[in-house]
Symmetry: C2
Subunit: 356 residues, 2 copies
Amino acid sequence: MRKPAADGLYIVGKPFVVAIAILVSSAAGANDDLMSAARRLFKPIPSMVPAVKDNPITHEKITLGKSLFFDPRLSASEVISCNTCHNVGMGGVDAGPTSIGHRWQQGTRRAPTVFNAVFNVAQFWDGRAADLKAQAAGPIQAGVEMNATPDRVLSTLNSMTEYVVMFSKAFPNDAAPVTFANFAKAIEAFEATLITPAAPFDQYLEGDGYALSDHQKAGLKLFIEKGCSSCHNGINVGGQDYFPFGVIERPAANLLPRDDRGRFALTKNLSDEYVFRSAPLRNVALRSPYFHSGQVWSLKQAVGVMSEVQLGIKLSDKETDEIVAFLNSLTGQFPKIDYPILPTRTNVTPRPSLDK
Amino acid sequence: MRKPAADGLYIVGKPFVVAIAILVSSAAGANDDLMSAARRLFKPIPSMVPAVKDNPITHEKITLGKSLFFDPRLSASEVISCNTCHNVGMGGVDAGPTSIGHRWQQGTRRAPTVFNAVFNVAQFWDGRAADLKAQAAGPIQAGVEMNATPDRVLSTLNSMTEYVVMFSKAFPNDAAPVTFANFAKAIEAFEATLITPAAPFDQYLEGDGYALSDHQKAGLKLFIEKGCSSCHNGINVGGQDYFPFGVIERPAANLLPRDDRGRFALTKNLSDEYVFRSAPLRNVALRSPYFHSGQVWSLKQAVGVMSEVQLGIKLSDKETDEIVAFLNSLTGQFPKIDYPILPTRTNVTPRPSLDK
């Protein structure tokens, strides 16, 4: 995958504006040029499951990963599964604003979507997990989320023969396949299947000029020209690099809580204060509320906030509507997911632990 | 559906014991006789969705009901769906012992399974809901469970055009189809599809003498002769009538909490003290922990408790194992359920309410 330049607007935007001027007499030509510009900035979601690093995807691994993803018994309370916060029926997120976890504790950042997450440069809002297998090890142990331990998870999995057999099939070369690392790899394998190809925008990138309405094309043009695509580009229309939230103007305190300084917590570099991975915008129309605090419930309002704090511009109502129309073209086809029949607990399965 | 007699043991058991004595010299005959006795007491789960009263089941109603069943946004917190406590991947129940609901409150009775619930005489442990549509209106409003109100539910549903369209299709003759009664009917329609035919025991009842192992047949024989089938008979091997919990001996306080007096709360008849609907035993091996307090985690232990407090007998270890083997033959085939893609929330969808 190409590494998109952080200053993509400058590189791509300028020649594009020139080209538009030259071709202004030909609507078809302008349309072709818009498509060319889009193709330089973005890539379609493939229709096949992508390869992931150090984790060959097999049917057996996907099947195991799906069961793990849906199994609430992996949390301490046995109430919360991955799907609780990354609901595959709701665009891969929960209702927000931020997730409810163990003992009704509330998280501080909005659940990121699991769909197309495999295409992100790294995982979590601050990119602190290099990939999905690293990510999968996080929430299950977080006290505010699933509150389990690797030991508890392994006890639970080993207590059910069906799981042990599934691990053997998924990791046939491992002498002792039931490990926390393999647990995470299986979840990564399932999550790699959670891709949503064939959005109108994908069809457009594949060369179908009719896949977007004129309204949506106008939005795409604005999205590029106004600078949105400087941070939101690549296959996920975002998620490919890190940028400060509030480039031009400090966002309101409810959008950017003082105690969440983004990647600074990770790198301790002052230049990383308030820096986050740009939000991947695939299926964004399904994933209200927006921003990491989940305090903005309308996509139109979110576009307005971004144009002001990131670009220092005030979009007209018409322009905002056009960009929203374009963002709606990013909604893809969701995979069919059969709800898994989970292994049956046994007498030695750890019991739910509802308290601290 | 025939109404099984509450005193089925007397009616059916006596001639059966006589018959066994006559046919004792012929193993095949004894086997035939066991099958005949079983057929008089039990009925197989059909492979087709049953009709339900006052609610013609259509594909459109099932589709709508499935979305409603999986939609956490119908709870006040927007965290809890029907599936949270009636998990279709875990035999239609949660991990127990009793369910966690709004604000991490814990219910007092174990979640009953949603699978084959359509065949029960009535719903809830105390049968206070006549059918599944009456049941569906309960937990969504219970403060300790989903904590919503009919008004909130209707606001949520009306806020999403996709839901409004689904209601129109499911209730094409209604001028204003989005009602709380129709919400409950759609859930009932989906739940009527949650049946698990083709268990080994069903195949046995259909005439396949090889569907049960000898061990399981011995268990079935004990189940009838010892008296279990007096309360657990009919299509669901239970769930067909009401009986006192603790006929012979008062169960331990953790199994029968003093403040849960069963149907007495409903009827105010002293004769209904500690009376509950007999537990339906279909798929019981998948649904630990047992009893309404969910305090017994092993099926073998549950069988032991029941024989003592209900029948006043002490089963041998071998007998208990045989009955457990028979109960394992009640595990059927689960329907394939595609996870629904839920309608997208809009600006007017009620927001999550996490507090009281």
